[in-house]
């Protein structure tokens, strides 16, 4: 099961994760071309900031994903094997229900295409997601194990992170 | 040989000799009869001759113990003089502190390959009553950490080192009791022949053949090196020389003889005689076991080995070496802790042999009872029985674990 862990005590708010996510999801996959020529590529990861506290958050691929329940067209699905919650953008009708129910606020609107966008897909064809790889301070960590919780990392809960919803921040999902 | 003739030959004086150190490559051999029975020097000469190719004719020497039964309790100084004036000057100095009981030129015979010998004399002396350091010897009190007890041994050691460094043209090459060092420029078997060593009888003989990497010359530069009753022959090069030399210097030992082996002699005198560390465990200092080996030792041994190593880092001898150390009460042989030079030991009846090559032992003793190669850092010690020394009463002890049957 793939998981990205957030270490907000090390996030420096540089937003390089956003930039590399944008490049990864661009058409050209090249940083200069993507930023020059393509318009409004949406990053799947978002850096939340208050004061000097910041962290980068993307889709948590919840075990019991509200967005899957809310989706009226069946575009949002959870892959039982990999645990990845995916959005089939061709099926999306742009009702924004998923955005409203997502407890983390990580789904974004793709206004131009009038549909939901930016679901983190763990960079399917990469060994390590590009946000994790390019974080200069190791504020994001990636693990891909079969047993989901036994190697769960301990990290700080909402007390130190005023920007998040207090209850749902803890990444370790109960199985 | 006529004294006048000696003066005219162009011998190499120490003062002509460049003031840098000459490392030694070589052959060593030692024979001890543990019952104290004496035997002629012809065995040792035969043995060292067997290793002729390990030397290059630029130095050879012997140490012999038990050779002066008539003067058993008096000091015997073997002295090399550059010329007759040095001899006269030195004798005046000797007489200030010692009573000269008897002296003579060491008898020699004409040997084909030995020439240009300096004057070599032996003096049997006794320290005069009330002899004191009157300015000739002034030991820096800062270097006298073992207290200022006056003893004949301490005085004589300081005296010998002072003469060797400051009195020009005079070199006391051995200063023990009932023992002497014979050495010079030439193959050791020729040196043995020159000094008529086949005519002497000793219970302990050590010898050395030298392969120096430098220009020929000075008789005093051959091995063995001696101070008081100690004699050291050495095959190897001391890469820790600078450290060791500064260490012994801080206790008042002056290295002045241009060969790194000299410092080993002083380390033994310092650790064993002055600091009273038993000869059985001094290898823990001179060829300390590796830290990882110390970690694996049983608790009591480990404490001792670790502490000695921490305290005496300055005495660790680094670099390859095989040494044979002679003393009135024992023969002691040791390799560096990673055994970078050869050493073989053998026993037959009361005899203990140590050598660079087994061939030398077999030449002299055709079928020994036991032959073995000591491990790096493990000494071979043969005590002379009934020597009355405190080192003689050795029972099963911590040293057995450390020494693993080396004795």
């Amino acid at each position: 099961m793939k998981k990205i862990y957030i270490k907000e005590e090390y996030c420096i708010g540089c937003r390089l994760c956003e930039i590399y996510c944008q490049v990864k999801h661009s058409k050209s996959k090249k940083i200069l071309k993507a930023f020059r020529e393509e318009q409004d590529i949406i990053s799947r990861v978002l850096v939340e900031e208050i004061g000097h506290n910041s962290f980068a958050i993307q889709c948590r691929h919840c075990v019991d994903a509200p967005c899957v329940d809310a989706c009226i067209s069946g575009a949002m699905t959870k892959n039982e094997n990999t645990g990845v919650v995916n959005c089939d953008e061709n099926k999306c009708v742009g009702c924004w229900s998923c955005i409203m129910v997502c407890p983390y606020g990580v789904i974004k609107r793709d206004i131009s295409a009038k549909r939901a966008a930016s679901k983190c897909d763990f960079c399917e064809d990469e060994k390590i997601p590009v946000c994790v790889k390019n974080c200069p301070n190791e504020a994001l960590k990636f693990s891909d194990t079969d047993d989901s919780d036994s190697n769960a990392e301990n990290y700080t809960d909402a007390d130190n992170n005023p920007g998040a919803d207090s209850d749902n921040y803890n990444e370790v999902d109960a199985e | 040989m006529d004294i006048y003739e000696k003066q005219m030959t162009g011998i190499y004086k120490k003062s002509d000799y460049p003031d840098y150190k000459i490392p030694s490559g070589c052959a060593v051999f030692g024979i001890l009869n543990q019952s104290g029975a004496t035997f002629s020097g012809s065995d040792i000469i035969e043995g060292i001759a067997m290793m002729h190719d390990r030397a290059n004719g630029l130095g050879g020497g012997f140490a012999a113990y038990g050779i002066y039964p008539d003067y058993k309790n008096d000091r015997a100084f073997h002295v090399i003089f550059d010329d007759i004036n040095s001899k006269k000057q030195a004798e005046e100095i000797f007489k200030n502190y010692y009573k000269i009981l008897y002296y003579e030129e060491i008898p020699t015979r004409q040997t084909l390959n030995i020439s240009n010998a300096p004057l070599i004399y032996r003096y049997f002396v006794k320290l005069k009553e009330g002899s004191a350091a009157d300015g000739f010897i002034s030991v820096n009190p800062a270097k006298n950490r073992f207290g200022s007890d006056f003893s004949e041994e301490n005085f004589t050691a300081d005296f010998v080192m002072k003469v060797n460094s400051d009195v020009s043209g005079t070199y006391i090459i051995s200063s023990g009791k009932d023992m002497g060092i014979f050495k010079g420029v030439g193959f050791p078997e020729d040196i043995g022949e020159f000094f008529r060593l086949d005519e002497y009888k000793a219970y302990l003989w050590t010898s050395h053949g030298r392969f120096p990497t430098n220009s020929p010359g000075w008789w005093g530069g051959a091995h063995p090196f001696g101070l008081l009753g100690w004699s050291v022959v050495h095959n190897g090069e001391i890469s820790s020389y600078g450290r060791n030399q500064r260490f012994v210097d801080s206790f008042g030992y002056k290295c002045s003889l241009s060969v790194d082996t000299e410092v080993i002699t002083y380390l033994f005198d310092l650790l064993v005689r002055k600091n009273n560390i038993s000869i059985e465990i001094v290898s823990l200092i001179l060829a300390s076991p590796l830290w990882e080996q110390i970690e694996r030792m049983p608790e009591a041994d480990r404490q001792l080995a670790k502490t000695l190593r921490i305290l005496f880092g300055g005495a660790l001898i680094n670099g390859p070496f095989s040494i044979i150390v002679g003393h009135n009460d024992f023969m002691y042989a040791l390799n560096d802790r990673v055994k970078l030079r050869p050493m073989v030991a053998a026993r037959k009846d009361d005899f203990l042999y140590v050598s660079s090559e087994e061939s030398a032992i077999r030449k002299v003793c055709v079928s020994p009872d036991r032959v073995w190669h000591p491990e790096g850092g493990m000494p071979v010690i043969g005590f002379v029985k009934n020597s009355g020394s405190k080192n003689n009463n050795r029972q099963g002890s911590i040293s057995d674990n450390i020494l693993k049957g080396a004795i």
Binding site: Y10, H52, E138 | R243, Q303, T307, N318, I398
Partner: protein, 506 residues
Amino acid sequence: MALKLRQSEFEIKRDEGKCIHCEVCVRQCSNDSHEFDEDAKIVSSDDANCVGCHRCEALCPTGAIKITAKEPEFKSNYNWSASHIKNIYKQADSGGVILTGMGSDKPHTIYWDHLLFNAAQVTNPSIDPLREPMEVKTFIGGKPDKVDIVKKDGNFKLKTKISPHLELSTPIMFSAMSYGSISLNACKSLASAAASFGTYYNTGEGGLHKDLYKYAENTIVQVASGRFGVDIDYLSRAAAIEIKIGQGAKPGIGGHLPGEKVTKDISSTRMIPEGTDAISPAPHHDIYSIEDLAQLIAALKEATDYTKPVGVKVSAVHNIAPIASGIVRAGADYIAIDGFRGGTGAAPQAIRDNVGIPIELALAAVDQRLREEGIRHRASIIVAGSVRSSSDVIKAIALGADAVYIGTAALIALGCHLCQKCYTGKCNWGIATQDPYLTKRLNPEIGSKRLAGLLRAWSLEIKEMLGGAGINAIESLRGNKEHIRGLDLNDRELKILGIKHAGEAW
């Protein structure tokens, strides 16, 4: 009205062809050198405040930024260099003392670079450290004058009591850098690396933060003139105690922590008011002479039951030899000498660049004097003050040191770019700052790995050089000047260092 010359030393070159206006540089620069224009939607730069720390250059995803040194603006003048002129402008403007950070950058002789090491050939085999044992384990502490070993029941026992020692897996330790001058994350990196590698770090005069208590076994605590954070718990936790008399960057004056860096946490660790400058007194006000030092050493040993080594840190000054002799006789277990090139978080530039002597000469002089007086064995010597590489370490040991302290080298391993602006508290690398936004940038997990990597690399190089010289235990190199030769040094310098010139044999 005052005329002010724009005085930046650095130029920010932005390659417009590569810049994607991602704003990473804007966010990362604490000196506000980059700005995002909301209307034109482009990033632009202003050199005025650039300090040359290279943070933006390092993080730019397309490599669009290049920071280069600017040519001095004045007509070329060998005597009146640009820095002298600018300093006078600053002082005329402000009437203040010019501060700076890190070690002296003046072009004086670097003696390490004039020393050459030996190798064994033919007569003595060199040793391959990858295949043969090679020991660099080091012990710090005093040795007794005489050792008594008795034989009882067939067992040898050491009768003499030995004073406490520190055990180091390599002869390198982390120098004193206070929490305050550097961030807590930097302190954690140093402590964690020291613990994992088997060496020690030094708290400096900042007291001991509670997050570092778990590294107590590898901590040397400092008792400096301000006595910040010193109480019985502080002393009991430590592995060793160091009385700081001086440091190489500013001999004669005390530590200086500018008010900008005194946050709430620092204030409670050091027990001083928030926001005030923490300027340590110049001397310890209870040490006005050598016997007072002896008294303090005895007091510290008594307070800790004689279970920890107590050392003294001094700057290298002209009379370092008799000073060192006095310190050893006062009972110190080790003496740490900091040369004039040592680093600092803040010091007056005039003192940093003009006071003190090089550590190489100080070391040789102290080692020589202590041996002449027959007391070299009573204390270990640790040197600091710009040890830049493993070869510097090995030369220091050959000249007589037992171990070295590294400060600047450790910070460089953590990301420091030596911009010398530590005193501003705006360190973009999260090292010399207390600003929480900036301190996040130093991840102690990464920092600890990097420092351990540095120690490992240097230890391997030291082993290679030792093996090359035919030595397999570092104690055989200490003070072994036969393995060092000088190059391009005059007779006087050779004599003071106690070494021969290259080309001379044994």
